[in-house]
Chain length 345, copies 2
DNA sequence: CTGAAAGCGCTTACAG
DNA sequence: CTGAAAGCGCTTACAG
C-alpha cells in the first residue's frame, strides 16, 4: 500500500541502497541510473519516510524552539511571532523543520527539552529566553547538545553561542536620551528579574543614572508581577509618590500603551506631563497616540541569526561558541519631551 | 553510549519486548516486573527514542500546524500567536507535539504538507486558514488524512471537520449595529477574497445592507492588496469620494488603528466624524484612543477546539466530520457613534 | 504474564 | 559505480 524504497528498487532494477543513494544525490551514482530511479520514484509516487530516515541517519533535520513560560514573554507578546518568523525563514532555507514546545510551566518545559533531546526528535535547540539558573540551559550544556540562545546566558557567556542586542548599552542610551531632555526622575517599568534581559536593562538604566550623578530610587522600579494584575495600580502608585517620575522606560510597546491609557485616566498627558519610551517598536507604534518613541531591537534578525548559528553548529559541532550582537535603533517619535520646570518638593 | 531498550532489558533480566510493554504501561505485565524495569530505566537514565517508536508504531504523536502565507494572515497578525496558544494547550494536554510549516509561498507550503503527510512526520494537520481552491485541502481530503480547519472550507463543508465563528451572522450584526446608529454609507476594509472568511464577512455585510434597504457600493469595499502599500491612500480615496463613508468595518484591530491614524491626519475624528468597528478585540483595544469597539472572536478557543477535534479524529478516524461554531461577542467601546446629520450630495 | 522473532523503512560501511 | 548485509531502536502479533 505505501511505496517504499524497496518497491522503487525492484521497479528500477537496482538495489535499495542505490535508491537511497540517488535520494541523497550521492556523487558516485551514474547520471543514467539516477535518472531512471528518479523516473520510477515519480511514477510510483514515492515519498521517503522521514521517521525511518531519521532513525537510520541519526538526524531529524528539525530544530526545537523552546518558548518561555512567563506572562511578559508570552504568546501575547508580539516578540514571539516575530522571532519565530526569523527562525522559520532560516530553517526553511536550510531545509530544517520546526518543532515547538507546548508546556506552560517551567517543569513542563524542562521535561519537553529532555524528551526532545533524548528522544532524538530534534538536532538542535533554540532557547527563546534566558533565565537565571535555567535548568534547561544546564541540561543542554552538560549534554553538549547543539543549542543557541536568543538572549545572553546568565553565566558562561563565552562558552555558549547566543544572539542578543546590547541591552546594557541600549538601555543606557535610552535613559541618557531622557536625561538629556532634562528628566531626573525616571521610572523603569516591567520586566522580571528572573530573566537576564531585565537585569541587563536595569543595569544600563542604573549606569546612565549614575554617570549623570542621579541616584537610583527603588520606588521607581516597577516589577512585572506588580503589573500583571493591574498596570493601573502601578501607575497610581508611581504618580502618588511625593516626587512622581517625569519619564517612564517600559519594556514593550504594548505595555507602554497600557501605561499611557492609565495615565490619561489620571489626567496626566503624554508627552506634556510625562515622557514615555519603550522597546520593540511595533509597526503599530507609528500610528498610536501619541506616536511612540521606541527602540527597534530587530526581532526578526534575532531569530534569523540564532537559527543560522544553530544550524552551523549542528553541521559542525566543533565550531567555537560565539556571541552575535544585533544592533538596535532608537526611533524618535512624539512620546518624549523636555521636562517641564517644576517646583521640587 | 546511548541507553536503549536492550540495555534496560539485560539489566532487568527481561526481554526487550517486556521493557517496551512497561513503557506503554501494558496491563498484562505484573506490577512486580513493571516496578523492577522502571527502576532499571531510572538507574540507567533511559529515554525512549521517539523516532524509533514512531517508525515501529506508525504514529508520530505530533500534529502539524499549517500557517497561511498571506500578509493579512501573517505572523504580524496577533491572531496567530493566540490560535497557536490554544492549539498548544490542547496538544500538550493530549501529549502531542507541534510541528510548524516554515514556507512562505503557497507552493512551498503545499510541498511541506505533502512531505509532512507522506513522510509520516505528523499524525494529523490543522490548517490555520481556509482558502478558495486550496491545494493542500484537496490533497489532505483525497488522502483521507486526519485534518481540521480553523475556518470554513470553501466546499464540502459537511464532509470536513472545521471550527469557525459564524462570520456571516457576526458581520451582519456588526453592520446592523452601525445601521442602527443611523449609518448608511459604511465601508468594508481589508480582507482578501481568496479566503473564505473574507467572503463570509462581506456577505454578512451585504445582507445587512440589503435588509436595511441600502445598496452595496463597490467603492466602499477596499481590498487587502490596496492596503498593503499604504492604508493611507485607501483612506484618502474613500474620504475623497463625493459621498464618503460615515463608518468603517475593518477586519482586524491593528488595521483599525492604522486607519484611525490616517483619518486623523486628514483631520477626520473618530468617532465624531466617522465610526470604526473591527474584529479580534486585542487586549490593547481597551487602551487605544479611542477605545475600540471590536468583535471578540475567541481566537484561543478556535485553536483549542480545532486541536481537540483533530486529536479525536486521529484516535478514531471513523468519526463523522463536524462543524463547531465558536461564539463571538461585540464589545462596545468608544469608536462608534450615531451618524451626524449631514447634507446629502 | 513473558519471550523470540519479524518488521517498521531507511542508511552506511564494506566489498567488489 | 553498485549491491548484500547489518543495523538504527523500537513495537507487536504469535506462541506458550
Amino acid at each position: 500500500m505505501v511505496i517504499t524504497i524497496k518497491d522503487v528498487a525492484k521497479q528500477a532494477n537496482v538495489a535499495p541502497s542505490t535508491v537511497s543513494r540517488v535520494i541523497a544525490n550521492h556523487p558516485r551514482i551514474s547520471e543514467k541510473t539516477k535518472k531512471r530511479v528518479r523516473e520510477v520514484m515519480k511514477e510510483l509516487g514515492y515519498h521517503p519516510n522521514l521517521q525511518a530516515r531519521s532513525l537510520a541517519a541519526r538526524s531529524s533535520q528539525t530544530i526545537g524552539v523552546v518558548m518561555p513560560n512567563s506572562a511578559f514573554f508570552s504568546f501575547q507578546n508580539p516578540f514571539f511571532p516575530e522571532v519565530l518568523r526569523g527562525i522559520s525563514t532560516s530553517a526553511h532555507d536550510h531545509k530544517y523543520g520546526l518543532y515547538l514546545t507546548t508546556g506552560t510551566t517551567e517543569d513542563e518545559i524542562f521535561e519537553e527539552v529532555i524528551s526532545m533531546v533524548n528522544g532524538k526528535r530534534v538536532d538542535g535547540i533554540i532557547l527563546l529566553y534566558s533565565r537565571i539558573n535555567d535548568r534547561a540551559l544546564h541540561f543542554l550544556y552538560d549534554a553538549d547538545f547543539p543549542f543557541t540562545i536568543v538572549g545572553t546566558p546568565y553565566c558562561n557567556d563565552k562558552g555558549i553561542t547566543h544572539v542578543d542586542n546590547d541591552n546594557i548599552n541600549t538601555t543606557k542610551r535610552v535613559t541618557n536620551y531622557l536625561i538629556e531632555l532634562g528628566h531626573e526622575r525616571i521610572a523603569f517599568i516591567g520586566g522580571n528579574l528572573g530573566f537576564v534581559v531585565t537585569n541587563d536593562r536595569l543595569n544600563g538604566y542604573k549606569m546612565a543614572l549614575e554617570e549623570a550623578g542621579l541616584t537610583f530610587d527603588k520606588q521607581y522600579y516597577v516589577e512585572e508581577r506588580m503589573l500583571k494584575e493591574s498596570g493601573k495600580e502601578a501607575i497610581e502608585f508611581l504618580m502618588s509618590l511625593p516626587s512622581p517620575p517625569t519619564a517612564l522606560v517600559t519594556q514593550d510597546d504594548l505595555m507602554a500603551y497600557e501605561m499611557i491609557s492609565h495615565l490619561e485616566k489620571l489626567n496626566i498627558k503624554v508627552p506634556d506631563d510625562i515622557s514615555v519610551i519603550s522597546f520593540n517598536n511595533l509597526t503599530l507604534s507609528e500610528h498610536s497616540k501619541p506616536p511612540l518613541t521606541s527602540v527597534d531591537i530587530n526581532i526578526y534578525d534575532l531569530g534569523l541569526v540564532a537559527s543560522n548559528c544553530l544550524i552551523e553548529k549542528i553541521k559542525d559541532p566543533t565550531l567555537p561558541a560565539k556571541r552575535i550582537t544585533i544592533p538596535t535603533e532608537l526611533i524618535e517619535r512624539d512620546s518624549c519631551q523636555p521636562v517641564k520646570e517644576i517646583v521640587r518638593s
